[in-house]
């Protein structure tokens, strides 16, 4: 059906990088040469060497091991947060767009309120009030980003709501629930994939920012954002402290976005004759 060989090279590279990161994360206990939290006071701030592939940080912790374990935290949290936001945003967006009327007005009111709130400050406030923990972070991220999602989804639903096939199946006797699940959802799927993958990237960055401010994952948890935070004092003299986690975040965001593009192309039913590789 699909000729994988003919996909553009960049998608294959992206997939490769993602798989690499995921394996690193999953097999961290096996691959990591050191315990990520093991402090080695004699080996602080070392550069790349045989014993420490990516060097060590200010407390003598092996950066490579921290990257691997950090991948677990960063990736799993990002996916979880993106999923929460999606579920919340998509359901409200679909209901709002499909039913219209009073429900739409109420939900849109909520959307406007939430969108108007300053994201970063909200996150800081929630993390501050509930204490920095995974749950509070999850809540913070979801509450600040569901509204944008919901708005886009509502737009997509409005586009297809008046199509003949929706009217047709309704006149056949379909219930609203059936239409939402089988007709609306699959037809906005393309946009959803892109939204989801972009969201993962944004979440990673948000968490990194929060960690940078000290409100995200708390040290000694090896999250990439925390690592950047730790590196901020030393990075001018020891850039390797920053390079590794920074590049990892970059690679994760880029590869996920590209995979999102590839998935959207794959599921698209547009008969685009210029798409030679599908």
């Amino acid at each position: 059906m699909v000729n994988i060989k003919q996909f553009p090279v960049i998608y294959k590279i992206a997939a490769f990088i993602l798989v690499l990161m995921l394996s690193g994360a999953i097999f961290a206990p096996v691959i990591a040469p050191y315990d990520p939290n093991q402090v080695l006071p004699d080996e602080t701030l070392q550069s790349y060497s045989g014993t420490h592939l990516l060097g060590t940080d200010a407390l003598g912790r092996d950066i490579f091991s921290r990257i691997l374990y950090g991948a677990r935290v960063s990736i799993s949290f990002a996916v979880a947060a993106a999923l929460c936001t999606m579920i919340f945003g998509v359901s409200l967006g679909m209901i709002s767009g499909y039913f219209g009327g009073t429900i739409d007005t109420i939900i849109q009111l909520l959307v406007n309120i939430f969108q108007g709130l300053p994201g970063m400050s909200m996150m800081i406030a929630i993390a501050g009030v509930m204490g920095p923990s995974t749950v509070s972070l999850l809540l913070a991220v979801t509450l600040t980003s569901w509204s944008g999602f919901s708005r886009i989804v509502r737009g997509e639903v409005l586009k297809i709501r008046e199509e003949n096939y929706i009217e047709g199946v309704r006149s056949l006797g379909a219930s609203d629930f059936y239409i939402l699940v089988h007709y609306i959802l699959p037809n906005i799927f393309n946009s959803l994939i892109i939204l989801f993958t972009v969201r993962i990237g944004t979440v990673v960055l948000s968490i990194a920012s929060l960690s940078f401010l000290g409100l995200g994952m708390q040290p000694p948890e090896a999250d990439w954002g925390v690592m950047i935070n730790d590196a901020k004092i030393y990075f001018r003299s020891y850039p390797n402290l920053l390079l590794a986690p920074g590049l990892c975040i970059l690679a994760l965001c880029a590869s996920i976005n590209l995979i999102g593009d590839a998935l959207r192309d794959l599921f698209s039913i547009q008969q685009d004759i210029n798409k030679q590789y599908l």
């Binding site: 003949n164 009217e167 199946v169 006149s171 056949l172 006797g173 089988h182 699959p186 037809n187 039913i269």
Partner: protein, 254 residues
């Protein structure tokens, strides 16, 4: 079969609903069982709206609708659901009439799913029978709508509607997007279906020749009103209204 009395539909647009458009203005008509009423009018005459009003796909405040002897003017959506089997609509654009993400097979199963009729075997049998009736084969079942031509899609839609054995079908310009030869094929299928099952048709179109070839009676619509309704032959021989004469002129002298 269908009796529509004094229906009016107004659309409110603009800020606070200030602009009122009178799409349908105090219209009445009736269709006998097994017969075809052709509804002819130009764009903007309100014929599509009238078709949907007759099926209660658009809510209507006033007027009366009597279907098969039952007064449905005040029926709720729930009560209508049971009747939906018997009154259906066929759309103008076959390419947007089916869910683009579903295979043809799945789309054809839907009528039975909604009304809980029969088991899987019966379903498959019926689908195959209807596909054959419209002149298509079962190899289409696994394809998606974008892989079929306009004429094939329209016939699939007809097959889907016939599965429910409707008594009334509103045909909203069913062939205006199709080539002339494909149009003839689809009309053929519709005529066969009427002969076999005794379905009543409300045939909406702007093509007077087509309506004449397919209808028993013709109603001419202009700016939301039915200005003339006569048996097909009589309309051609003795049009009463000036607008009707103008329309006939367009077709005969074209």
């Amino acid at each position: 079969m269908l009796n529509v009395i004094n229906i009016t539909k107004e659309f409110k647009n603009g800020l606070f609903g200030r602009t009122h458009t009178l799409a349908v203005n105090n219209v009445s008509f009736s269709i006998k069982a097994g017969q075809t009423l052709g509804l002819v009018g130009m764009s903007g005459s309100g014929k599509s709206t009238l078709g949907r009003l007759a099926l209660k796909l658009i809510p209507c405040g006033n007027g009366r609708i009597i279907f098969n002897g039952i007064e449905i003017s005040n029926f709720t959506m729930k009560q209508m659901k049971r009747l939906r089997k018997e009154m259906q609509i066929l759309f103008q654009n076959p390419e947007s009439s089916l869910n683009p993400r579903m295979t043809i097979g799945k789309s054809l199963e839907e009528p039975y799913r909604f009304h809980d009729i029969g088991d899987k075997e019966y379903l498959d049998e019926q689908i195959e029978e209807q596909l054959k009736f419209v002149g298509l084969g079962t190899e289409l079942l696994n394809r998606r709508p974008h892989q079929l031509s306009g004429g094939q899609l329209q016939r699939v839609c007809i097959a889907r509607l016939l599965l429910l054995r409707p008594k009334l079908l509103v045909l909203d310009e069913p062939t205006s997007m199709l080539d002339v030869s494909v149009q003839a094929q689809v009309i053929d299928v519709l005529k066969n279906a009427q002969k076999k099952h005794g379905i009543s048709y409300l045939f909406i179109s702007h093509d007077l020749d087509l309506i004449k070839a397919c209808s028993d009676e013709i109603a001419v619509m202009y700016k939301g009103r039915i200005i003339e309704q006569q048996p097909a032959e009589d309309l051609y021989k003795q049009p009463e209204e000036k607008y009707t004469k103008q329309l006939l002129d367009t077709f005969l002298n074209f």
